[in-house]
C-alpha cells in the first residue's frame, strides 16, 4: 500500500472509534457483545453479539465526513460475500447451531470526531 504510515494509523483510529460507538449503541439496545475484532484465517470480524438468541455478526463502517462517499457505499457485493465467508468460518470453528445473521453499522463523524449520524442495518445478506 502506497499510503504513508501516518494516514494509515489515522484510518485505523477512526475505525476503532466507530467500533466503540457501535458497541455502546448495541449494548444500550440489549445486545450481548461476545467478540470484538475477532480474527479468522481470512480477515477480521468487527463485532459479534447476541441479539436474544440470534448470533449477529456486525460490520462497522466509519467515515469522517461524507464528501468522499458514504460508509454504506463501501459495502459492496464483494465485501458482503467476504462477510458471509468470515461468518461461516466462525460458525464452523465454534460449531454454532444457532440462528445467525449479518448486520452493518455505519457511523459518520464530523471534523471534531463527533457523531454526525449512525445507522444500524439488520440482516444485510438476505
Amino acid at each position: 500500500m502506497k499510503t504513508s504510515n501516518g494516514v494509515k494509523t489515522k484510518n485505523l483510529e477512526t475505525g476503532y472509534m466507530g467500533e466503540a460507538i457501535a458497541k455502546k449503541y448495541l449494548e444500550d439496545n440489549g445486545y450481548r457483545v461476545v467478540e470484538l475484532n475477532y480474527r479468522t484465517k481470512y480477515a477480521e470480524i468487527d463485532l459479534i453479539a447476541y441479539d436474544k438468541d440470534v448470533l449477529v455478526f456486525i460490520e462497522v463502517r466509519t467515515k469522517i465526513g461524507e464528501q468522499f462517499g458514504t460508509p454504506e457505499e463501501t459495502i459492496n457485493k464483494n465485501k458482503i460475500s467476504r462477510l458471509i465467508r468470515n461468518a461461516e468460518a466462525y460458525i464452523a470453528i465454534k460449531n454454532c447451531q444457532k440462528e445467525c445473521r449479518i448486520d452493518a453499522f455505519c457511523v459518520v463523524l464530523d471534523k471534531n470526531r463527533k457523531v454526525e449520524r449512525r445507522n444500524h442495518y439488520k440482516n444485510i445478506t438476505l
Partner: protein
C-alpha cells in the same frame, strides 16, 4: 421445515410435472437460494417473491431458504415458478395446510398481485390428464385454463387473497367452466369478395381453396388484386370447430399470445409475414423451440405476399410442414413438435418488372431475367401447391362500371355459405379417418373416397402425359376435383369437375 408444492413446466406443447421443494432451515446465515438448473428468469424470481411477500405485509423469514426444482437435471425457465415458491414459503412460515392434489402456477408482481402467465391452458390439460383436481392460476389467465372440463381452476388475484383462503378466512370459488358454445366468430377480413371486380376465375379458385383447404398460388401483374383477393379469402373461411379451436389455442397459449383474460381462439388465424422473415421466424426454433408462423397459422391461412422475394432457404424449409401438417424442431437440448396444418396462399409477379403477358404494357425483362426470377421458387415447393392461377389485369372500363356491377357481385357471406356446406360434406366423409379436409387426404383416402370413372381417369391420364404432371400433382388434381365436386354437391367426380381441376395445375415446368 420442508414443504413440497406441485407445479408443471411446458416444453413446446408437452407438459411435465415439477416439484418445488422449499426448505426453511432453523440455523445458519439467512439466504435465499434456488437450485435445480434455474435460468435467469427463474433466478430472478427470488427478488420478485421476496418483495411480493414483504409488500403483502407478511413477514419474510430471515432464515436460510433453499428451493429445489425437481427433477433437478431439466433446465428450468419461465416466470411461473413465482407462485409455487411463494406459496411454499408462506406455508412454512405461517404453517398453512396446503390443499392436496393441486398445481400452482403464476408470475408475481412486486406488489403481491399475480400477472397473466403464458401456458395456463397446457397446465390445465395436464392436470386433467393426470387426474389432478385443483389448479391455482393468476386471475388474468383463468379464462384460458377454464376451458378444460373437470378441473377446478382457482383464479388468484394476489398473495394476500390466497393466504386468507388458506387460513380459512375467505372461500374461493373455482372459475366457471367455459363451454365452447356456438358463438364462433368468422374471421374478420379487410375486404369483402363483392369489392373485387372481375377476377371471376381467381375468386372461384379462392372458393375451392377455402372449401378443401388447398394451397393457392396467385400470379399476376402489379395492381391486379392478388393481395386484395388473399385478404378477402379470410372472410370466406368457415369458423373453427371446437377441436380445431383447442389445437390453435394450445399453440397460442404455449407461445404466450393469448391476451390477459383471453380464452379460446375463435377465429381462424390469418398470418401474413413480410418477406424479410427469417427461417426461424417462419418455421420456429431457438434453443427453447418456439412456434414459427407456420404453426401460428395452424388451421388458418399463411399468406406469403411477394412469394419470390422470400429467401430461398426460407421457402425450402416449408416443404416438410406443407406435406406433413406438423414439424419437429430439433435442437441439441430439446425436440419439440408443433402442428402446422395451414393453407398456403402465395402471390407473385410473373417477372421482375411485373408486366409479362400484360395486354398493353411491354415487359422490360430479358428472357434470362424472367428465367432467373422464376427459378427463385423451386419446383418442389410449387409442386406442393394445389391451385395455380393467373390473376389477369382488370380492365379499366370494368372499373368505371363499378356502381352498377357492385350489386351483382357475390358478397363473402354467400360464398362462405357454400364453403361451409362443402366442409360439412367433407366432415361426414372423413368421419373416421382423422382428417378434416380434402387437401389432407393421403393416397389411401383418395382410393377410398375418390373413385374415378373410366372417362375421368382417361382425361387425367391424357393431361398427366401432356403437361408432365408429377405423381404428387396427379393426386393433387384428384383432390382438387373432389373439392369441386363437393361444391357442386355431387357424389361422383365427373369429367367437368376434373377438367376444371386441371386448369389449376402447376405451370412452371411448362416452357413457353
Amino acid at each position: 421445515m420442508l414443504i413440497k408444492v406441485s407445479s408443471a413446466s411446458n416444453s413446446g406443447l408437452q407438459t411435465i410435472a415439477i416439484d418445488v421443494e422449499i426448505n426453511v432451515a432453523g440455523k445458519g446465515l439467512p439466504a435465499f437460494e434456488i437450485i435445480g438448473l434455474p435460468n435467469k428468469a427463474v433466478d430472478e424470481s427470488r427478488d420478485r417473491v421476496k418483495t411480493a411477500i414483504i409488500n403483502s405485509h407478511i413477514q419474510f423469514p430471515s432464515r436460510r431458504i433453499t428451493i429445489n426444482l425437481a427433477p433437478a437435471d431439466i433446465p428450468k425457465e419461465g416466470s411461473f415458478y413465482d407462485l409455487p415458491i411463494a406459496v411454499g414459503i408462506l406455508a412454512s412460515v405461517v404453517g398453512y395446510q396446503l390443499p392436496e392434489e393441486s398445481l400452482f402456477f403464476g408470475e408475481l408482481s412486486l406488489d403481491g398481485t399475480l400477472r397473466h402467465t403464458r401456458g395456463a391452458l397446457l397446465l390445465s390439460l395436464f392436470a386433467k390428464e393426470k387426474g389432478i383436481k385443483n389448479i391455482f392460476v393468476p386471475k388474468a389467465s383463468a379464462n384460458e385454463a377454464a376451458i378444460v372440463k373437470g378441473v377446478n381452476v382457482y383464479p388468484i388475484e394476489s398473495l394476500n387473497q390466497l393466504s386468507s383462503y388458506f387460513s380459512g378466512e375467505i372461500d374461493l370459488q373455482p372459475a366457471k367452466y367455459i363451454e365452447a358454445k356456438d358463438d364462433w366468430m368468422n374471421a374478420q377480413a379487410e375486404f369483402d369478395m363483392a369489392e373485387i371486380l372481375g377476377q371471376e376465375q381467381a375468386k372461384r379458385a379462392a372458393e375451392i381453396s377455402a372449401s378443401g383447404g388447398h394451397n393457392l398460388f396467385l400470379v399476376g401483374t402489379p395492381g391486379s388484386g392478388k393481395t386484395m383477393l388473399a385478404r378477402a379469402l379470410a372472410g370466406i373461411l368457415p369458423s373453427l370447430s371446437e377441436k380445431e379451436s383447442l389445437e390453435v389455442t394450445k399453440i397460442y397459449s404455449a407461445s404466450g399470445r393469448i391476451p390477459p383474460e383471453g380464452s379460446l381462439v375463435k377465429t381462424r388465424p390469418f398470418r401474413a409475414p413480410h418477406h424479410t422473415i427469417s427461417r426461424v421466424g417462419l418455421i420456429g426454433g431457438s434453443t427453447k423451440p418456439q412456434p414459427g408462423e407456420v404453426s401460428l397459422s395452424h388451421r388458418g391461412i399463411l399468406f406469403l405476399d411477394e412469394f419470390s422475394e422470400f429467401p430461398r432457404s426460407v421457402l425450402e424449409a416449408l416443404r416438410q410442414p406443407l406435406e406433413d401438417g406438423s414439424l419437429t424442431i430439433s435442437r441439441s437440448r430439446e425436440r419439440v413438435t408443433y402442428p402446422s396444418r395451414f393453407v398456403l396462399i402465395a402471390s407473385a409477379n410473373p417477372c421482375p418488372c411485373g408486366y409479362l403477358h400484360h395486354p398493353k404494357k411491354p415487359c422490360l425483362c430479358t428472357s434470362r431475367e424472367v428465367e432467373k426470377y422464376r427459378k427463385r421458387v423451386s419446383g418442389p415447393i410449387l409442386d406442393r401447391i394445389d391451385l395455380h392461377i393467373d390473376v389477369p389485369v382488370v380492365d379499366i372500363k370494368e372499373l368505371a362500371k363499378d356502381r352498377r356491377l357492385k350489386d351483382e357481385l357475390e358478397p363473402s357471406a354467400i360464398i362462405r355459405g357454400r364453403v361451409i356446406r362443402a366442409r360439412e360434406t367433407q366432415k361426414n366423409r372423413f368421419f373416421d379417418d382423422g382428417i378434416h379436409t380434402n387437401a389432407e387426404m393421403k393416397n389411401k383416402h383418395i382410393k377410398k373416397h375418390c373413385p374415378l370413372s373410366k372417362e375421368v381417369r382417361h382425361l387425367l391420364q391424357q393431361a398427366g402425359m401432356n403437361f408432365q404432371l408429377s405423381a404428387r400433382s396427379y393426386y393433387k388434381m384428384i383432390k382438387v376435383a373432389r373439392t369441386i365436386a363437393d361444391l357442386d354437391d355431387s357424389r361422383d367426380i365427373t369429367v367437368s369437375h376434373m377438367a376444371e381441376a386441371l386448369q389449376y395445375r402447376p405451370r412452371v415446368q411448362e416452357r413457353e
